[in-house]
């Protein structure tokens, strides 16, 4: 497409990047077909192509106000459009640039600012989030059912393996995953332990930074990135072979550290190295001989796998987890429109509750359509979001491979979810 | 292809005179289907002298011929190159011309599986009501430039213009054809025909004459044999005669003085309750009825069945012939007629009164 960005903008690295992305777009409209919000709303402005146009006109100096902000806010950043795009448009990157630009141009109403600020100062900090979560869990029983459903019940932590192997991989400390589902990291450690690898938690790390970065607070996001790099670096130097990430939303962010910090002289090189070492846990497993893994409860288990957007579109790892589960002996049920987002999308479920709810209902129907015993996924956000709407237990798929767990026991937890509204659209 | 003659100028002159005087024209070709439609009056205008194949390029799968060209001549030329008019135009008389086949828009037994006359029309040259010679469409497989006037002419019964030349898509003849017969009740036959149509079978005709269910398969020898194994049934000898008799209405069903109705319904529709004799063609989509039941009842029953009824032959040619159009649609027809033939000189009343 033709672009007429101002010379001053075009002389900045960000402007050049935006220009090159915009010019790769040929306006064919294929992207709209797989866009969850366009599917719901049917408005070009809520499609990737429309948003690209909104960003383009803003960068070209036209008026961009609350409407542009609204439509950019409605984007899930699921990047299904990138998978569909034949022209190779890096939409997700353009969206970040566009969101940062609109944030500077349009002041949000005060309540909205407060809400976003609260999200940014609570969610990425494990301790703060834990406090909020525990209070909510305590009050859970007294809340109306609709609220109750969205608060995950407490989960007891399980133990990490004691043995230490020569081969080491690094874990991401993360933010919300440990308070909500401590078993995921433990199960990951146990699975890697079976394969002769020790999973190491580096002290000083934390949130990957994605939440802040995609909420328009890009500098905050980069600060989180730098903290993680600092925490991991000594281990990298002493021979850790990979960063094994079991939350695909974080994985996609860590893999972008190199690009995002390329203008930061003191971090660029290390960030690049970290990104190169970052692997989704499925990538790790795919490379290992998995014969030693003997997951319990197979045979009876029919799994519906919800591939998180950050896994299939962000990291382009569509089909990998499915093939690992199948080779482990699980039966996978068909999931219609498996490219669609569940509506969790970072803070989206909190900021766009109505659209998020519609997408969730669609996804749960699709996932349940094959009558699975359990639903597997690869990102904590999707996990908690899906579980809020289904009585089928939702687990991180690595837990299904955990030699210490049984799929049957998963049922108990699912049963705790009270569904008062029928799951229909 | 020596039998060619271009009389476009004479035809045009005749149209010019008629447009000037306002005296309507009664257009005819070989006269084989002049019974079809409503009775009309007017000065005869015959396209029979405007004849001959203009171009035929087997490699392009396209033939262009003048309206007065006998269908026999066209089909002979195609057969020589192992090709065919896939919609199997009914002649309904030896003198049938290409122009008549297109103006009536009738199709034979293959229609539900490969398409109707209109589906094979690529372009036409015609004379409009202002005596202008115009070309629409073309001689290539795909052409979406301008409105599809060429297909608008198909089945318009000459009420919109005088066809001069028609370009048609032709197809290679299948390597093998095989007809099978099974004995079924009418509703069973309808059901079975539609089950077959939902499966990937090489069907090219499917008809039930009240006694036997006839199914024609076509394609490569191996494909036809494989389909025979799946469908079952006795092989009909002399099959070509059977399908020819059906298409040309020589089949015994068509005998007798009762009016002949053509009832078109969604193919899977079970038998309609109209007294008379039925023959089910086109895999259930076209049903012939010999009956003296009143037109209103037949029309209503067909409509209730999701279709429409035509008084094909016999009966009162000045009364109900074609299914009535909704008022808005009829008004649109009249405006289209005015656009093509402002003086109403072409076959007025042939399709509907005031059209």
């Amino acid at each position: 497409m033709q672009t007429t960005l101002s010379d001053s903008l075009r002389s900045t690295p960000l402007g050049q990047e935006a220009d090159s992305i915009l010019r790769a777009c040929v306006h064919c409209g294929f992207c709209a077909a797989t866009c969850p919000t366009y599917g719901l709303l049917g408005d070009e402005l809520d499609s990737p192509r429309g948003r690209i146009y909104l960003i383009k006109q803003m960068l070209e100096g036209a008026t961009a106000g609350q409407n542009t902000q609204l439509h950019l806010d409605r984007c899930l950043a699921c990047r299904a459009c990138e998978t569909t795009c034949p022209s190779g448009v890096r939409y997700g990157r353009l969206l970040d640039i566009g969101r940062a630009a609109i944030e500077q141009r349009v002041r949000r109403p005060l309540p909205e600012q407060i809400k976003r600020h609260l999200l940014r100062v609570v969610i990425p900090y494990e301790r703060r989030f834990t406090v909020v979560l525990r209070v909510a869990q305590t009050l859970r029983a007294f809340l109306p059912p609709t609220w109750r459903r969205s608060i995950p019940p407490p989960q007891l932590p399980t133990s990490w393996p004691r043995s230490s192997h020569e081969r080491k991989m690094l874990a991401l400390a993360g933010c919300v995953q440990t308070p909500i589902a401590p078993n995921i990291d433990a199960a990951t450690a146990r699975v890697l332990d079976c394969l002769g690898i020790s999973l190491v938690r580096a002290s000083g790390g934390g949130c990957c930074g994605a939440l802040s970065y995609h909420l328009g607070a890009q500098e905050d996001g980069l600060e989180f990135a730098r903290r993680n790099i600092d925490a991991w670096w000594p281990h990298v130097e002493s021979g850790a072979e990979a960063i094994a990430i079991n939350a695909s939303g974080c994985g996609v962010m860590v893999k972008e550290y190199g690009h995002l910090l390329r203008e930061d002289p003191s971090y660029a090189e290390r960030a690049d190295r970290i990104s190169a070492m970052a692997m989704d846990i499925s990538e790790v497993l795919a490379k290992e001989n998995r014969a030693a893994l003997a997951p319990a409860g197979i045979g009876t288990a029919r799994i519906a796998f919800h591939s998180p957007c950050s896994l299939q579109h962000g990291q382009k790892l569509a089909g990998l987890v499915e093939s690992i589960l199948e080779s482990a002996g699980f039966e996978l049920t068909p999931v219609p429109d498996g490219h669609l987002c569940c509506g969790s999308a970072g803070s989206y479920s909190l900021l766009q509750p109505e659209l998020s709810r519609q997408l969730l209902l669609q996804r749960v129907l699709a996932l349940e359509s094959g009558q699975p015993t359990a639903i597997g996924t690869a990102n904590i956000g999707c996990l908690a979001h899906l579980q809020s709407r289904t009585s089928v237990p939702v687990r991180h798929w690595i837990e299904l491979l955990d030699p210490g767990a049984s799929v049957v026991s998963l049922r108990d937890e699912g049963a705790q979810v009270e569904l008062t509204e029928p799951t229909t659209l | 292809m020596t039998d060619t003659n271009d009389s476009a100028d004479q035809l045009r002159e005749q149209v010019r005179v008629a447009a000037h005087s306002g005296v309507p024209l009664q257009i005819s070709g070989g006269g084989s289907k002049s019974f079809y439609g409503r009775a009309t009056v007017g000065t005869p205008l015959s396209t029979i002298a405007h004849r001959g194949i203009v171009t035929y390029d087997p490699g392009e799968l396209v033939i262009t011929a003048r309206a007065g060209t006998p269908l026999t001549q066209i089909e002979a030329a195609l057969a020589e190159k192992n090709q065919m008019l896939a919609f199997e135009p009914p002649y309904l008389g030896e003198s049938a011309t290409l122009g008549g086949a297109i103006a009536t828009g009738l199709s034979g037994p293959r229609r539900p599986y490969v398409g109707a006359a209109r589906d094979f029309v690529l372009g036409v040259k015609l004379i409009n009501g202002q005596a202008e010679i115009l070309s629409f469409g073309g001689q290539v497989m795909k052409n979406v430039a301008g409105y599809d006037v060429a297909r608008l002419m198909v089945g318009a019964l000459g009420t919109l213009g005088v066809l001069l030349e028609i370009s048609l898509k032709v197809l290679p003849r299948p390597a093998t054809e095989l007809t099978l017969v099974q004995h079924r009740t009418p509703n069973e036959a309808i059901e079975v025909m539609n089950i077959w149509a939902r499966r990937p079978l090489p069907l090219s005709a499917c008809c039930y004459d009240g006694d036997g269910l006839y199914v024609r398969l076509c394609g490569a020898d191996s494909a036809v044999r494989a389909a025979h194994d799946k469908i079952g049934g006795e092989i009909l000898t002399n099959a070509q005669n059977f399908w020819h008799a059906l298409r040309e209405q020589f089949h015994a069903f068509f005998d007798g003085p009762l009016p002949l109705w053509r009832v078109a319904v969604p193919p899977a529709r079970p038998s309609l309750r109209i007294p008379g004799k039925w023959l089910i063609d086109w895999g259930g989509a076209q049903r012939w009825l010999k009956s003296d039941t009143d037109a209103a009842t037949i029309c209503r029953t067909a409509a209730e069945g999701g279709g429409h009824a035509t008084l094909f032959r016999g009966g009162d040619r000045g009364g109900y012939i074609f299914h009535p159009l909704a008022p808005g649609l009829l008004a649109l027809h009249q405006r289209i007629k005015n656009a093509m033939d402002p003086q109403h000189i072409f076959n007025p009343g042939k399709m509907y009164p005031n059209l």
Binding site: M1, Q2, T3, V26, H27, C28, G29, F30, G42, L45, R49, L54, Q57, A62, T63, N67, C85, P86, S87, G88 | G59, N82, S107, P112, R118, D119, S135, G138, V140, M141, K142, V144, A145, G146, D148, L152, G155, L160, P172, R198, R199, P202, A220, S222, A223, A226, A264, P266, P267, A268, G306, H308, H323, L325, L329, L332, I336, N338, A339, M340
Partner: protein, 511 residues
């Protein structure tokens, strides 16, 4: 004779041959129209701020842009009717739009008109398995129909390359084709009933649940009418049984002409492939970068020949086709190993247009159809013209039916590039007409090829088109300025292009 009475005041860039400002909508009236539409539409369904209108300024042909006065996003037929009535009463042009993937600018808005998006009409209303039809709303995506009936063993045959995104309503408006229309026909061959609203708001149904409806074949006439006659609100499509087997043979050639000869040889052998597609080297490389289908990137041309039907017949024909390829000098030919590879072969072909976006920032897609026998000659001439113009051309085409899609690569940011591209495009189309073909096989005339209509049709044929348009839309409010040029426009275009009695391509035989 009813000529179009209202024109878009601003023709697209490069096409500024005539401007007929008939803007009868003043700002005050605009406010009044907005108020009227607000009464009949939900609040989010009417866009009027420039910020919101801008992304609607073009369809899949982004070279031509025009900001609409308003955008309406109704989601019921009653709302569509109310919008049409309101516009008709006020003499406001209406441009209907589906998914906006068209490549001829058919949904280019009018600056003094309402852009009527039908994208919210995305529901499949009924699937009738026994009668093999589906009743759908116009905004349903082409591919969504086949996906919805796949479990019944059925599918909807026409498959334009944009089938993942394009809407069925747009397909009908343009009479869309696709890679399989050689055997299965265009949209017109695969629909059975249409309901549309006239500009006056009258609902008309043409065709029917039964074959060969009474009266004129308005089903065919509406198909491909590019939104100039009515606004389609419901469509009944035909469904076909999925073939028992489909197999694709890929052949590579070191010479485009040899590939052209192979196409003729296959048709000549009496084979009707389900699809027969050609791509030249530039297109092959672009598509390969996106899908990694294993296309031979150093070949001058590849042919994809799909054979489908009964298992035994497909096996026989594959052998025949491979032999023909060999005889015609293919450097390699192989059959897709499995369904995955077959899908991949097609994915590359279907994504070829936008994938060309990887080679150059912009492309301009032509759509001429020619008699197959002239394929090699026309390709050679396109190559020469491309060199003369200094603009690369990637060729992707439906070789089986002679439908060419030369993609002219250019850079819209370079001054003058678009104009040179348009001139080259015009010459390519005029070449197609000169060899007995047409300027558009399946994309529609839209605004892009409007001048070339003057070359393909006589003045009296164009006048006849206008008279027919008048029968549907006497005030000329539906999609004005598209598909059929005014005689005045043609006169001016002719004056520009034929100098001193010189005709284009004097060396070519005329038909």
């Amino acid at each position: 004779m009813g000529a179009i009475m209202i024109y878009c005041p601003n023709s697209p860039p490069g096409k500024t041959i005539m401007k007929t400002p008939v803007t009868n909508v003043q700002p005050r009236n605009r406010r009044e129209l907005i108020a009227a539409l607000q009464r009949v539409l939900p609040s989010q369904a009417l866009l009027s701020e420039t910020e919101d209108l801008r992304p609607y300024e073009c369809d899949g042909l982004s070279a031509y842009c025009e900001l609409p006065m308003l955008v309406a996003l109704p989601d019921t037929v009653e709302q569509v009717r109310a919008v049409l009535v309101a516009c008709h009463e006020r003499g406001v042009p209406v441009v209907a739009r589906g998914a906006g993937t068209g490549l001829s600018g058919g949904a280019l808005p009018c600056s003094n008109g309402v852009l009527l998006s039908l994208a919210k009409f995305n529901r499949i209303l009924e699937i009738d398995a026994a009668n093999r039809t589906a009743r759908v709303q116009p905004g349903v995506r082409n591919l969504a129909i086949s996906q919805a009936v796949a479990h019944l063993g059925l599918y909807y045959a026409p498959d334009p390359s944009s089938q993942i995104a394009c809407s069925i309503g747009g397909n009908v408006a343009e009479n869309a084709g696709g890679v399989h229309c050689l055997k299965y026909g265009l949209t017109v061959h695969n629909i059975q009933m249409l309901s549309f609203l006239t500009i006056e708001g009258e609902l008309i149904t043409v065709g029917g649940a039964a074959l060969d409806a009474p009266g004129y074949d308005l089903l065919a006439f509406m198909t491909g009418s590019e939104g100039l006659l009515g606004v389609i609100v419901e469509i009944t499509v035909k469904l076909l049984p999925q073939p028992e087997r489909a197999q694709v043979v890929l052949a590579a050639f070191d010479d485009v002409e040899k590939a052209g000869a192979a196409v003729a040889a296959i048709i000549g052998a009496g084979i009707v492939p389900a699809g027969l597609e050609m791509m030249d080297n530039l297109a092959i490389r672009a598509a390969e970068q996106f899908v990694h289908a294993g296309y031979p990137v150093d070949a001058e041309a590849i042919l994809l020949c799909e054979l489908d039907g009964v298992n035994e017949e497909v096996s026989e024909q594959i052998l025949q086709v491979r032999e023909i390829f060999q005889q015609c000098g293919a450097t390699e030919s192989h059959t897709a190993r499995d369904e995955r590879e077959r899908a991949l072969f097609w994915a590359g072909r279907k994504a070829a247009f936008p994938a060309v976006g990887r080679l150059a920032p912009d492309y301009y897609c032509m759509d001429g159809t020619i008699p197959r026998k002239h394929l090699a000659r026309v390709l050679r001439r396109i190559g020469e013209m491309s060199a003369e113009a200094g603009l690369a051309v990637a060729n992707v085409f439906h070789a089986g039916d002679g439908n060419l899609h030369p993609l002219i690569l250019y850079d819209a940011n370079k001054p003058g590039d678009l104009e040179r591209t348009e001139r080259l495009g015009a010459k390519i189309l005029e070449l197609c007409v000169a060899v007995g073909g047409t300027i558009t096989g399946e994309h529609g005339v839209g605004v892009e090829k409007i001048n070339q209509m003057c070359i393909q049709f006589s003045a009296s044929a164009l006048a006849q088109f206008h008279a027919l348009k008048h029968a549907f839309d006497p005030r000329g409010l539906l999609n004005p300025g598209k598909a059929v040029p005014t005689l005045q426009r043609c006169a001016e275009y002719g004056a520009m292009h034929v100098h001193g009695g010189k005709v284009l391509f004097p060396d070519l035989e005329r038909f």
